[in-house]
């Protein structure tokens, strides 16, 4: 039986209307009706502005009549709209009193904060019409997509190998060989490559709509156009970046992104989105009106008592995350990405901000973080915090977690980098990092799965640059090399930048292999920066956020040039995925709790069973007892694994722990010898002659398996 409320009650300039449903916010299709709903606590009046696609002038502006308002929500239903050919915005009226936090200006046409499809920056780098009154334009989206039997994969978090990547950087560069460079479709074309590498999760740098022309300028070095390439500057929290879709020009980015997720899932690869809920693209007092500022400034932004924007993000404004309405928007956005896009997890940029109250003070039980930890729909979604912000709040190890939140472990990065370059006084710290940082995560019972380990990420040097540069070289960014991290813990191996010196290049490759080995044999969730597996360089630029060119793009020709690195990465990732004891989710006990004659985990040194602990020591070894794999869900008894790390510049002999009778030590990897003897296929590891001691070369790591 048809509903009785399907009939218009009002008519306005030929359009048939009736009072809308206040909830859900945004534009929602229901049969031949579209429901528009927008919330503003302080607005006095609101108008819905409708355009035909891409037209400069609206064809109608419909006031929200008194009977179209409920509480602080304006909503209306329009009948029989050709919604594929409609773009909509709002005009909000209300006080303009910046000192009180109000910025209403009814001359502005504003983007719906809940817009699910945004056009206006549809083809990357295509100059927009700057004088257009409405730049980022909301459209009504089809929310049907045939997922067939797809759902988020729910891979156990400790089994993930995360690949942090950028949609454009991944396939724009030379030799990528894809048809649709720099797009979601381009990633689909590269799925066979991801499978060969062996990663089972991609973490996409921001894919919410942003404006690549934000703060655009030219490079002082070569006069090239600089863009906001990375996109840490949201225009909309519900809409994908149009220009990341090869079909963006047809406004089909929603379907293209959904297809990417579906295809990755079909191949066992999860999708984590890097989400930026700490600020928006509206910037500070000098920034443009896009949406929030004009819709309800005082609700959406954290303001000082005299109405200025707090700047805990370093980007001009701070989203008012613990305002109840903004909190709801964030929760709804995340739910939407899980429900409608089947996203597997989120990495929250500058997540410490999400725990600040409306005055900017850190809270002990931030309601937003608690809501997310307990949300029914996000119940199995991975939640990963970048546990610091630009306002000086650093919460690695103390991010409020309710047992649900993992963290980017910045201490893993710092300790491992220092060990890699043979710093003194770092050994004790490195040992904590290798066993999943119990010093940070054991006391709260968060387990190893709280630690996302990484040595490189988009912020900072690539791995090849980490071993090729002592200092950053960001001149091309146009800020006189002031931008970017100064404390990189990097070492250039003897020459700053590219060199023909074969010894230096050999050492660099060895150091890259050492780094990926440290990452893959450590407990926790490893994250690899896209391109490191082929020795990608950014020519020493450690903050390539604006370099939409070969500086930031992966050069796929490196795959051949650095074939030894790719092979080594591939085998190391495979090794990790083959051995459960490298992927515990709870902390190790260091005890023989199964009465097997060996503990689950044991530290060693140049002497078996006698770990080094001295300030100057640069050697360590550890052994994982594969028999304990049987205690892990879906695990079965496995080989012993012994890892000797010698970050000293001299060779050292390592006495080996004795294996059970009938077992022998075999070499799986040795970064101190050139390819192909640096790493072996499973089952082809050569047995070693001397079962009592191995010699580990200068700055080398050796992995043995006992079987």
């Amino acid at each position: 039986m048809d509903r009785v409320d399907l009939f218009p009650t009002h008519e306005y300039q030929g359009l048939k209307l009736r009072p809308g449903r206040p909830y859900p916010f945004g534009a929602t299709i229901a049969g031949n009706m579209v429901n528009f709903s927008v919330y503003s606590r302080y607005a006095t009046d609101c108008t819905l502005v409708l355009f035909h696609n891409r037209e400069e002038k609206p064809f109608v502006e419909i006031p929200f009549f008194k009977e179209f308002r409920l509480g602080n929500v304006f909503s209306m239903i329009i009948f029989d709209l050709d919604y594929e050919n409609i773009e909509y915005g709002f005009r909000m009226d209300g006080p303009y009193e910046p000192e009180k936090g109000h910025w209403f200006d009814k001359s502005k046409i504003l983007l719906d904060p809940y817009a699910k499809l945004i056009v206006g920056r549809d083809v990357w780098g295509q100059e927009p019409h700057w004088d257009s009154a409405y730049q980022y334009r909301a459209r009504v989206v089809f929310d049907d997509f045939d997922w067939e039997d797809d759902l988020p994969l729910e891979t156990p978090v400790n089994d993930l190998v995360v690949y942090e990547m950028h949609v454009r950087n991944f396939t724009c560069g030379a030799g990528s060989g894809v048809k649709h460079r720099g797009t979601f479709a381009g990633i689909v074309e590269k799925i066979p490559y991801l499978l060969e590498l062996g990663v089972n999760c991609v973490e996409l740098m921001p894919i919410h709509e942003f404006d690549e022309f934000e703060n655009h300028r030219v490079s002082p070095v070569d006069g090239r156009q600089l863009y906001n390439l990375w996109g840490y500057s949201n225009v909309g929290f519900f809409a994908p970046k149009a220009a990341y879709a090869s079909t963006g020009k047809y406004a089909m980015q929603v379907d293209e992104l959904k297809n990417l997720v579906k295809q990755l899932h079909k191949n066992g690869i999860e999708v984590i989105l890097d989400v930026v809920f700490n600020h928006t693209a509206e910037g500070n007092e000098q920034g443009p009106y896009i949406s929030y500022r004009g819709i309800d400034n005082k609700t959406y932004y954290m303001l000082t008592p005299d109405g200025h924007y707090f700047n805990f993000s370093g980007c001009g404004n701070t989203l008012n995350c613990n305002n109840p309405n903004v909190r709801d928007m964030i929760v709804e956005s995340l739910r939407y990405w899980v429900i409608d896009y089947h996203i597997d997890g989120f990495r929250f940029d500058l997540a410490a901000i999400l725990g600040r109250d409306q005055n900017g003070h850190p809270m002990s039980n931030p309601p937003l973080l608690e809501s997310l930890a307990h949300d029914p729909i996000l119940g199995k979604t991975k939640l990963i915090a970048e546990a610091w912000d630009a306002g000086g709040l650093y919460q690695v190890g103390s991010f409020p977690s309710w047992g649900r939140w993992a963290e980017w472990n910045g201490k893993f990065r710092d300790s491992m980098r220092r060990f890699l370059k043979s710093d003194e006084g770092v050994l004790a710290d490195v040992k904590e990092r290798i066993i999943g940082s119990p010093d940070l995560y054991a006391s709260q019972g968060r387990g190893i799965k709280a630690s996302v380990n990484f040595i490189t990420a988009h912020d900072g040097f690539t791995l090849m640059d980490l071993v090729s540069y002592n200092g950053k070289h960001n001149e091309a960014n146009g800020e006189d090399n002031r931008d970017g991290e100064n404390h990189n813990n990097s070492w250039n191996c003897g020459c700053e930048g590219e060199t023909d010196d074969p010894d230096i290049n050999r050492l660099r490759h060895q150091q890259v292999k050492n780094a990926i080995t440290m990452l893959m044999v450590s407990q926790g969730i490893p994250m690899v920066l896209s391109g490191d597996e082929m020795g990608n360089s950014q020519q020493g630029n450690n903050n390539a956020y604006c370099q939409d060119n070969e500086i930031a793009w992966l050069d796929w020709n490196n795959l051949e040039k650095n074939a030894d690195l790719f092979r080594y990465f591939k085998q190391m990732i495979k090794f990790r995925r083959q051995h459960k004891v490298l992927r515990y989710d709870e902390h190790l006990r260091h005890q023989d709790y199964l009465g097997l004659g060996y503990p689950d985990f044991s530290w060693h040194g140049v002497k078996a069973w006698q770990p080094e602990s001295g300030h100057n020591n640069l050697t360590l070894a550890f052994m994982l007892n594969g028999q304990y794999a049987a205690t892990i869900p879906e695990g079965h008894s496995d080989d012993f694994i012994y890892v000797a790390m010698n970050m000293h510049w001299e060779m050292h002999g390592f006495e080996l722990p004795q294996l059970p009778e009938s077992m022998a030590w075999h070499v799986f990897a040795n970064t101190g010898v050139p390819s192909p003897d640096d790493i072996f296929e499973s089952g082809q590891e050569p047995v070693i002659d001397n079962q009592h001691e191995v010699l580990v070369g200068p700055r080398s790591i050796m992995i043995l398996i006992g079987k």
Binding site: E84, F142, Y250, M252, E256, N259
Partner: protein
Amino acid sequence: MKFETYQLAKELDSFNYQQVQDGVLAILEKGSSAIIDMTACKYVSSTGLRVLLYSKKIAASKGLRLCLVGISDEVQDIMNVTGFNTFFDCFHTMDECLQAVNS
């Protein structure tokens, strides 16, 4: 199995989707499978893709087939990157299609 052909115009979008949907469903209502001749069609919008998939699902629910013939490179590309291609039997020419459905 009986077949009937439906000819698409230059574009399939929200302006003409209703007409196309009615036309294709009318064929299916008669118990015939449908061959959609897309030779002239150079653009299919989001609405258009949904009309094709909707019609395909109606056909399947009646035990009938729905084939697409002569898809242009542009349209094929749109279908590939949005994943809609996977749901259809596609043929380059009418001859190929007829041969396949009659064998």
